[in-house]
Amino acid sequence: MIVDAARGAPLGTDAQSPPPELVQLLTPEGERVEHPEYDVNLTPEEIKGLYRDLVIVRRIDTEAVALTRQGELGIWASLLGQEAAQIGSAHALRTGDMAFPSYREHGVAWCRGVDPLDLLGLFRGVNHAGWDPKAHNFHLYTIVIGSHALHATGYAMGIQRDGAENAAIVYFGDGATSQGDVNEAFVWSAAQNAPIVFFCQNNQWAISEPLERQSRIPLYRRAEGFGFPGVRVDGNDIFAVLAVTRKALDNARSGQGPTLIEAFTYRMGAHTTTDDPTRYRLQSELESWKLKDPIERLKAYLVKNEMADREFFDAIDAEAKQVGSDLRRRCLELPDPEPTAIWENVYATEHSLLAEERDQFTSYLASFEDVSR
């Protein structure tokens, strides 16, 4: 076996070469292709709706990165390049399904009707997730890697108990597949036959750790060992992602248990705004993925099939720009919380020590007010 000493993984494993098992319905050039198991049947209006979502979430993301650079947000995890994986899978969800995001699922949030201002408020530090998870069936962002896979498993077991025809979907990245919590979620959900879809966006990089640091086999093949199906889908192909996720959710709802979907995609930006990927990856890799851009390929498809004209694309761009500038304005208007807000939401019920500290702190603050008068 030849081993790449710098990376410690065997060369020539499937993790490094493009595997033949990738489900694809739309090529990077925008050509529609057939797949024996998966298909989507969408009207031109539905396809244009998908395109709109892709463009708008990219714009939201661009705006958030810019706001972070300008010091208006503390940090931001960009979804650049992963729009199709998120919008495609989110469109497969029904209203009653519950989505558990990590911290990069801004596209899923958009499709679940969460105001992007709530996402920005979170990263600006003015609230702790302003949205109601029950109203949107979209859970809170989970910053700790992979923990929410178990939360989603428990939720799915609750669906099972209620006999409801819903499913849970949990989003995580390639790095999270190394975590114990994710593997335990696989074990549990398989043993319980829980109605859950594990949606792994394999964006090739866990900050600076490449995929081969996590796995010697393609990630979707892990599922077999746990006893449920795994599928690798072209994560930049919105049709394929939609088709594969729909089927997995249908299977979950109809009592066939979990599925692991590995959406093969690429993190075109940094891990977060505090990261500089030029330190550890080659520009040529990014360039090769740019040719597989999820938005460009759907645009090529719309143009080739004469479903949309220049006017349509201009209108979407204008709308996205408007969403972006509105978001920027609303974000800058968000007021900082009052210092006494630190005492809120520590416990659901009154806590005597906390009340005591809060009162002390309030009078401490009041002593400054006296001075200023």
Partner: protein, 328 residues
């Protein structure tokens, strides 16, 4: 003698120790190609290669467990956990295995490993990434917990930790990485378990560690302008705890304030206060006070986080109140 940052002192010491002993190796997330989230392992992969600078999967329980296995068989792993918050994922390996293997194997096999990890709030990293949970480890027999506050201590104590035959939790602090100080050439390993009087004073003892040692120094400067002479004891080692140095100081000054970078209830200050009342009860002229974080999950919001963290101002207020309470 050279002036350098805390970061540089750690990095140079790691390098020295790797040059000195080929059994020393480093392991952790993002420490190789990326050179560490806080760049403590800068240049090490290039110099020592991937056998001794090992990038790991994103699995803390996994790589801490692997380090324990390596340490049991004679290697000296220095594990970096990106922040102390992530050590919670490895709690079972640290508490149930690293700390207990020596005893449970009848002393046949020790675990000479170091877990380097930064704690510390104030960086706007949110509730799950800003905690100071060194207390968990300070509570566990079988572990040693070191918390240096200066570049020289970072160097001498890391040297000692790596050469020590027991598992050491080596607490760094995000707010200290860029602080500068003099580091003597040919620095000897520190004696583990020794606190230091870093500023002599006569009126009150402030007990602190890590970042709070700097906050204490700032407070002492302010207090000096009021004519209050504060003595500072920097604990440096949370386990073993140097009770003697603390007690001796309080016997001289007659009162004490603990400045701790953790939550008050059951915190490190509670242990120090108990130590003082046991060892210096008859010398106390006022109750021991504690200055700690607000008892809330650390906010991500900048103004709220500042409000929740202990500051030099809150320490000054507590010291003034304490000195006033002595009735001197």
């Amino acid at each position: 003698m050279a002036t350098m940052t805390y970061r540089q002192a750690l990095r140079d010491t790691l390098r020295d120790e790797m040059l000195r002993d080929e059994n020393v190796f480093v392991m952790g997330e993002e420490i190789g190609v990326f050179e560490g989230s806080y760049k403590i392992t800068e240049g090490l992969l290039k110099e020592f290669g991937p056998k001794r600078v090992r990038d790991t999967p994103i699995a803390e329980e996994g790589f801490v467990g692997a380090a324990i296995g390596a340490a049991m068989l004679g290697l000296r792993p220095v594990v970096e956990i990106m922040t102390i918050n992530f050590s919670l994922l490895a709690l079972d390996q640290i508490v149930n295995h690293a700390a207990k293997i020596y005893g449970m194997f009848g002393g046949q096999c020790s675990v000479p490993m170091v877990i380097r990890t930064p704690g510390g709030g104030g960086q706007q990293l949110g509730a799950t990434h800003s905690q100071n949970v060194e207390l968990f480890y300070s509570f566990i027999p079988g572990l040693k917990v070191l918390a240096p506050s200066t570049p020289a201590e970072a160097s001498s104590m890391l040297r000692a930790a790596i050469r020590d035959d027991d598992p050491v939790l080596f607490l760094e602090n995000l707010a200290l990485y860029n602080t500068r100080g003099e580091v003597p050439d040919d620095l000897e390993p520190a004696e583990i378990g020794r606190a230091a009087v870093t500023r002599p004073g006569t009126d009150v003892t402030i007990i602190a560690y890590s970042r709070m040692a700097h906050v204490a120094a700032e407070a002492a400067d302010k207090l000096a302008t009021d004519g209050i002479s504060a003595e500072i004891v920097d604990l440096r080692s949370l386990r073993p705890l140097d009770r003697e140095t603390v007690v001796e100081s309080v016997r001289r000054t007659g009162c004490a304030v603990v400045a701790e970078d953790d939550w008050l209830t059951y915190g490190i200050g509670a242990e120090i206060a108990a130590t003082i009342q046991e060892g210096a009860f008859d010398h106390l002229d006022a109750p021991v006070r504690r200055v700690a974080m607000a008892e809330v999950p650390l906010p991500y919001s900048k103004p709220l986080e500042l409000a929740a963290l202990p500051s030099a101002e809150s320490l000054v207020t507590a010291v003034r109140d304490t000195v006033r309470a002595t009735g001197r």
